[in-house]
């Protein structure tokens, strides 16, 4: 009898050890925030300059249909800069502390108006289309999404990031600070979360990435949360 108990205990210990190994093998994640494994982000968010320069995050707006350039640009500026703190710009927390590695500037004219050499220095292009139009990346109309292009090995050699990003915005979403800031969160490496997000993080923690659309009805944020800014700072630090 004792021998049986000892054998059962040994097998149980083995299962616990195996489970521990498997759990330890999962990619790390910072608090609520998004598995390290799938966090594509802009390459310039690891670097900064004292004055406006190529290492800052520049964006431009391109109208496909459904809105005027001035309306779209002012909507995006409103969402990014006029909703208080926390905010993506300077990775600003609600306590006012900043991190200059994200330093957002807008370009005043349409993306296509810039010579290619200058356009190639722009990190984020917001492409706006009418609500009944679709782009393949977004998979349907009434949906906004993000595309990353030009993957590049980081100078730290630890990961690949992207020189260019495209935020495809449905024109109906221009009125929503929440949706503009949500898509911009993708640019800085954050992934969707919530029970219907299809990602590993099914929680409804306080984040603009865990929206009502993904089953988090109470998350009616119009701007990033401190959790989001801390997650972005974590990506910056890689």
């Amino acid at each position: 009898m004792r021998e049986r108990i000892r054998r059962a205990a040994a097998v149980a210990a083995g299962i616990v050890a195996a489970a521990t190994l498997v759990i330890a093998g999962q990619p790390a994640s910072a608090h609520h925030a998004h598995r390290d494994y799938y966090q594509p982000h802009l390459s310039h968010m690891h670097e900064w300059t004292a004055y406006e320069g190529e290492k800052d995050e520049h964006f431009c707006v391109q109208i496909i249909s459904g809105a005027s350039h001035s309306t779209a640009l002012s909507s995006i500026n409103r969402a990014l800069f006029s909703t208080g703190t926390p905010r993506w710009d300077l990775a600003t927390l609600s306590d006012g502390t900043t991190n200059a590695r994200i330093d957002i500037y807008h370009k005043p004219n349409s993306c296509s108006s810039y010579p290619q050499a200058e356009r190639n220095t722009i990190d984020i292009e917001y492409h706006v289309r009418a609500s009944n139009a679709s782009v393949p990346a977004c998979g349907g109309d009434n949906i906004s999404c993000v595309v990353f292009d030009l993957p590049r090995l980081s100078l730290s050699g630890t990961h690949y990031h992207y020189d260019w990003s495209y935020v495809y915005l449905d024109a109906d979403h221009l009125g929503s600070n929440q949706l503009i800031n949500h898509e911009t969160g993708h640019v800085f490496g954050l992934m969707d979360g919530g029970p219907r997000s299809g990602t590993w993080d099914t929680s409804c923690s306080a984040s603009i990435m865990h929206l009502p659309y993904y089953g988090c009805a109470a998350n009616t944020y119009s701007k990033p949360t401190d959790n989001d800014i801390r997650s972005v700072r974590s990506v910056i630090g890689r």
Partner: protein, 190 residues
Amino acid sequence: MTRYARIVLYPLAVAGLLVAVVLGVRTPESHAEFVPDSGLLVSTRDALRVCVDTHGAVPGGAAEQVAAALGTVRAHPQWGAARFGDVPAVERGCPATLPGPLVRGTVVGPGLTDAPSPYRTVVVVLDEATADRYLGDRPAALLPYELMRVSDHVVVTVTQAVAVRAGALGTAEFTKDYLTPALGLDPSAG
């Protein structure tokens, strides 16, 4: 078997079995996945492969010129970190499309896919007339060829194309400013 051996070996055997099963489940070879910490970017690629496609009356030797440029990029300090290994032979068989002016973001390949090609980089060589039409006065352009969805609303390029006028193939500018980043290596580190 001693009591000590049972206590030590049983757990190890069970642990090993479970880990093997879990690893087996987690690494299916037939299904392509985006791999952000690999220079090859896709789980179904096991070596650097580069392909050339030509448009118009491109003079002979384009593939050889791309191979020579690859030999130069081989000295880039990040080549080893990207785990590219030896300089690959340049291949054919990657048809590119030219949907219009080759401005930033123009997709010149299959676009969104869940089964990307084995090629990490595609070089699209244009004769001078075609280059004038699609590139304007530029020597080359970096463009997406294949993209993968990594979550519901996030898509990434996994095959980079570089469209280049034939006359620019042998230049240092092409090698440093276009082919190097088309392989995911940082030109500023070179």
